[in-house]
């Protein structure tokens, strides 16, 4: 029995945590968002999966640090993901291949798939040309489906700043596309 188990404070800590995080559910909900965050940052293929794995494993090992009253779980998990991305880019500068676009989900005709695949490959290449910062904003917005307000909170910016940065990034992508 750990020291202090028989004290009132330990009881408090339990009552605070009575509705503890359901990791299975959290995993199922967060995995696609984290995975796509990295896909928009580093492209398709094994690297996005590797960084996703690192994020979840770090988050799991550090889960004791998580406090519900400080931040919602999703925000905290993305703080871990962003740190993983920073570490990755710090040690792997200029190696951001976004060309490897694989097959798309079924449904459309083979012609549609070919066109879309081609479009997605092209989009991947264009994303790779954007700056790290722009890609991070695009990844949070389109990959992880955060709102501008949530991104603003995460990045310590105003919502209108975030809107401007995203607008410029999308415009730049569009210009590249039309070139």
């Amino acid at each position: 029995m750990a020291n202090g188990e028989a004290t009132l404070a330990r009881l408090w800590s339990w009552t605070r945590q009575a509705g503890e995080i359901d990791w299975d559910a959290a995993y199922a909900e967060a995995l696609p968002r984290v995975y796509n965050f990295f896909r928009y940052r580093v492209g398709d293929g094994p690297l996005a999966e590797d960084l996703t794995s690192v994020t979840f494993e770090k988050a799991w090992r550090a889960r004791e640090q998580y406090r519900r009253d400080r931040a919602a779980f999703g925000t905290w998990l993305f703080a871990v993901a962003r740190n993983v991305a920073v570490d990755h880019f710090r040690s792997h500068r200029a190696t951001v291949p976004l060309e490897e676009i694989e097959e798309l989900p079924g449904g459309p005709t083979p012609e549609d798939i070919a066109v879309r695949r081609s479009d997605h490959e092209r989009l991947g290449r264009l994303l790779a040309r954007r700056s790290d910062r722009e890609r991070e904003f695009l990844a949070l917005k389109y990959g992880s489906e955060f709102t501008n307000r949530e991104i603003a909170r995460m990045m310590g910016l105003s919502e209108s700043n975030v809107g401007t940065i995203l607008h410029r990034a999308v415009e730049a992508l569009r210009a590249d596309w039309d070139r």
Binding site: M1, A2, N3, G4, E5, A6, T7, L8, A9, R10, L11, W12, W14, T15, R16, Q17, A18, G19, I21, D22, W23, D24, A25, Y27, E29, L31, P32, R33, N36, R39, Y40, D44, E49, T52, S53, F56, E57, W60, R61, R68, A72, F73, G74, T75, P105, R116, D119, H120, L123, L126, L138, Y142, G143, E145, E150, V170, L173, R174, W177, D178
Partner: protein, 324 residues
């Protein structure tokens, strides 16, 4: 190129990758996860049991040879109190260690909870016949089983700490009877078995154990001590006196309501009284929604049960009713 195309660039992770990663996390989980949760829950039960008796200040000094009183959990009752008081007590505990104890001896270490392959294996490891619900909500199935060993500890009550605590809480009208110092309160927490159930979207956790026991010198005025304890929790003098008188302090475990509790009520489970607590749960992964959680605790024979899940109250009670 437009927003739609940027949206459509998203893709579901490869199912094999998702499954392999989940398995890796689950292996970490099996090493660590139950320890935190099971320990917390049953530490809480043991702690609450201790709290129930820790204020047992004898009206006359009890000799060391006195016959011992034993507290066992037979029923649960909820007690509401202010969040600010909860935080204050937690902060006091943090700054000076134990609130009302000055010594603690670990008699038996429970060791880490361990994953076992089946309910039968849990029965063999825990030393009691492990029950399980025969009813599960649609789609839900047994997932995993863990066992944590027995624990035992004893703590010496400190009269000066209690006085200091009362002073800090500005409870000037509460009298601390003499003769408290140095009396030992012993806690025994039997082995705990935890079973996890899950469906694609929902989860439930079922814990069971023989009742924890708290042993203390006979003759302590538990009603008086319970009243002091309730005052410390922040109840006013009149409410504390009324509840203390109405409570059987040798068998009732007071459960401070979780901060996220929205409601609670007494229910009947297999003819026994149980406590059902509804909570808002924790934030979902998107940080926006909360998964509502329901908690049910009850006892039967010498066993206590704790069932928690993102199920509604009726489903939880039906699961509990089917435990055999």
């Amino acid at each position: 190129m437009d927003d739609r195309m940027l949206d459509e660039y998203r893709r579901e992770p490869d199912p094999r990758f998702a499954s392999e990663l989940r398995d890796r996390l689950r292996r970490l989980e099996r090493r660590a996860f139950p320890s935190r949760r099971a320990t917390r829950i049953f530490a809480a039960v043991a702690a609450a049991a201790a709290i129930t008796v820790v204020f047992a200040v004898p009206s006359v000094r009890v000799s060391a040879q006195a016959v011992l009183d034993v507290f066992r959990v037979k029923r649960f009752a909820a007690v509401e109190f202010k969040e600010s008081r909860r935080d204050l007590l937690a902060s006091i505990d943090k700054e000076r260690g134990f609130l009302v104890f000055d010594q603690q001896e670990k008699v038996l270490d429970p060791g880490p909870p361990t994953y076992v392959a089946s309910r039968e294996a849990a029965t063999a490891k825990a030393g009691f016949e492990v029950s399980t619900p025969s009813f599960l909500p649609p789609g839900m199935a047994a997932d995993s089983v863990f066992v944590q060993g027995e624990a035992a500890a004893r703590m010496a009550v400190s009269e000066s700490k209690l006085r200091s605590l009362l002073e800090r809480l500005d409870l000037k009208d509460v009298t601390v009877p003499a003769g408290l110092d140095g009396h030992w309160v012993e806690l025994r927490k039997p082995p705990v078995v935890m079973q996890r159930f899950k469906s694609e979207r929902r989860r439930a956790m079922f814990l069971q154990a023989p009742s924890p026991e708290v042993t203390l010198p006979a003759g302590w005025n538990l009603t008086q001590l319970g009243e002091i304890g309730l005052r410390i929790l922040g109840l006013d003098a009149r409410a504390a006196k009324r509840i203390a008188k109405a409570t059987d302090w040798r068998s009732t475990l007071l459960v401070p309501l979780p901060m996220n509790a929205t409601s609670f009520r007494q229910v009947t489970v297999r003819g026994q009284s149980g406590l059902l607590i509804m909570t808002t749960g924790e934030p979902a992964a998107d940080g926006k929604r909360h998964r509502e959680k329901t908690i049910l605790m009850w006892s039967a024979g010498d066993r206590i049960f704790f069932l928690q899940g993102d199920l509604d109250g009726k489903e939880l009670v039906r699961m509990a009713e089917s435990v055999s």
